[in-house]
């Protein structure tokens, strides 16, 4: 069966987010004065062909830890 799983990767609290800061600045240069802060996350939408629901969590967590996130700076969230 096909399943779509979403892994969202963000920076841990306390880790600075240069891209977010850059976007914040660019938006304020454009005149959007209401913007206080921007943070940027990445979202991987993974289409899986699996036999059971149980497999999903386990294997997606493994992908995330092996490749998609670096534990020193990232937190992640898996949803489907």
């Amino acid at each position: 069966m096909e399943k779509e799983v979403t892994v969202t990767i963000g920076l841990k609290k306390g880790i600075s987010d240069p891209e977010g800061k850059n976007v914040t600045k660019a938006l304020s240069l454009l005149g959007f004065s209401s913007v206080k802060d921007v943070t940027v996350n990445k979202r991987y939408v993974i289409t899986l062909d699996v036999e059971s629901e149980e497999q999903i969590e386990q294997s997606v967590r493994e992908m995330t830890e092996k490749l998609l996130a670096n534990p020193v700076i990232h937190h992640y969230d898996i949803a489907w």
Binding site: N22, K25, A26, L29
Partner: protein, 771 residues
Amino acid sequence: MVNNMGDVTRLSLNVSDDELARISEETGTGLSVNELKEIRDYFEKEGRDPTDIELQALGQAWSEHCCYKSSKYYLKKYLFHLDAPQNIRVIKEDAGLVEFDDDHAYAVALESHNHPSAIEPYGGAATGIGGILRDVVCMGAQPVALVDPIFFAPLTTDYDELPRGVKHPKFIFSGVVSGIRDYGNRVGIPTVAGMTTFHPGYLGNCLVNVGCIGIVKKDDIIYSRVGGVGDLFVLAGGGTGRDGIHGVTFASKELADDSETSSRSAVQVGDPIMKEPLIHACLEANAKKLLTGLKDLGGGGLSCVVGEMAEAAGFGAHIDLEKVHLKEGGMLPWEIWVSESQERMMMSVTKDNLDDVLAIFDKWDVPAVVIGEVTPEERVHVFWKGEEIYDMEISFVTTGPMYQRPTEPPVRDQDGEARFETPANLEEVLIDILSSCNIASKDWVIRQYDFEVRANTTSPSLVGTANSETHADAAVVRPVEGSSRGLAITSDVNPHLVARDPYWGAASAVDETVRNLAAVGARVHSFADCLNFGNPEKPEKMWEFSMAVQGLAFVAEKVGATFVSGNVSLYNEAPAGACPPTPTIMGIGIIEDAALTATPLFKSAGDTLYLIGETKDELGASAYYRIMGADGGTVPRVDPDLLARASEALVSLIEDRTVVACHDVSEGGIAIALSEMCLGSTMGASIELHDELGPDTSLFSESNTRWICEVEPANEDAFEKALAESNVPFTKIGSTGWDRLTISHKGRQLVSLSTSKLMDAWQRPLWETMG
């Protein structure tokens, strides 16, 4: 021949003119009614109607972009016959080949990616880089440098003044630079030089020109033609998809305000990580002598590449289209045939070598498949699941129409003298010009590019003390290991001048190219041109084109180098108007010992400063006039013989280290050239000008063929003697030292500015606008 098999349809052209126009519109081929009639005649002789894939192929091949139907006449008449002894094979291939040394040649290519970049700056510019790399790789050459002349409307353009469908220049500028950065850096080819120019005429049609230089052993040169009958066509690289369909026909018409939605399929993103191993694999297979021919898939896709490779060798082709590997399902045969998906190369391979070739591509994880075979007769036959769906004589497809379109000079009223009062404070004007975006530091752009990857860039675009560098006139790369010989690279054109006077503006672009090369100590060796103009069906635009081409030829003829490759991009028109005529020139020079490259920054206090050349009253379209809002005046003229003599004399003086710092005088005149020489080492100069011109003219005139040189006092005689012998005018104008730039004219002090004030004015503008 197939009759009707669902995936392929036949179109009858025996219909009224209105119907023909409708067919052109509906198929998106961009063919004119007259062109369709010519096609009708051809198929009448064949005794059948064309199929959709045949018509689509003709639409691609006969587009302005592919067959140069409006420009060919002028190019042939004025440029193509120029020749130089160092040229090996020029104009005919995707890149020009010029001798580098006994064993090596270098390949040069320059192209535009304007339309796609206007719609999708990031992807458009990135795929521009991808395309120009392919042009060089398909000569068997290893790319060694990229160049990116890019043109936008002023960054201060008001959001409320943007026409419908037009994106803000900041968005386009930042997208274009990111696209070039992300593609160029990822494939690991240094982007070493370029231009960043602003003019209101680029609103709605930015220009993105990209150039590439490669190096190849003469023994490894390969051409875009098959070897012989029975050779296999092997298609390598990324899958073929619906992206990029009708890219060339899109590039051959004006942009409309709904182009962004209607032309989506022409837009692509590009995959540098497919390109990088593809380059390695192609070059490896070529170096092992496993290929008989190599060509990239660019405009027109498979349709163009198969026909051209076969025709160049006097053969034909049989293609099984269903063998092409696809990115997406459900594609129609004609879509596969004309798709311009990126990152693909076509090779011709003898049957004996096939396995070895496929093994190389397998190692690099790059897909490669056999899709057809070379046949004796000069026709292309395309089959789809066993049935023939395309059968045309190659020469009919590739010859294409040629037009000599009407030209007409525009009516102008600005030829008179400019009238305004000379400002009392010229120092303020200097600062204004120095901090205008056209002249200010481009390091916001340059530093986003890896300009030193491959470790051959011996002199980049930024030179001087770390983190307070100034601009170099040309970058130098040393492409052959163990050899000190370098290639100097620059690109130039001042669209303000060309817009005001296409002939002298274009001539000035060549002059500037040559003098930028000479300024670093390089002898001009070859040019490439990218001719960006408006709609050729408008007589005024065609006139601009024709005058500019003549201006280019006028100077190039005399300097010992010719146009070895190039590209014409017409229809750069949006509802807001046409782009200014922009003949971008890329110049390549040879520098015998790259370690002797000259830079503009002052070297030591107490040295003598000279001006080579003469300042004349030539302020038409100058940076000074633009800042003063003044119209009129004369655009700088060129004396090509003087240019040739003066640059040769200067290069010799740099080679024997008589000249220790050198900068050419261009936009902003002497005042700006001197300011730029004060940066990079933060040493000042004291200048006294004594010419008979007005003080503002003396400071800001943009007369061609001028340089400022720093010479040690002990070498003054040698310097003066050498120039006098070459009959080149020069003037002693002052000396280096202190940390201020002071300039006086006939005893009256006009400028006294600290080097830090100059640095500040020059360095910050782009950072402050772009963040």
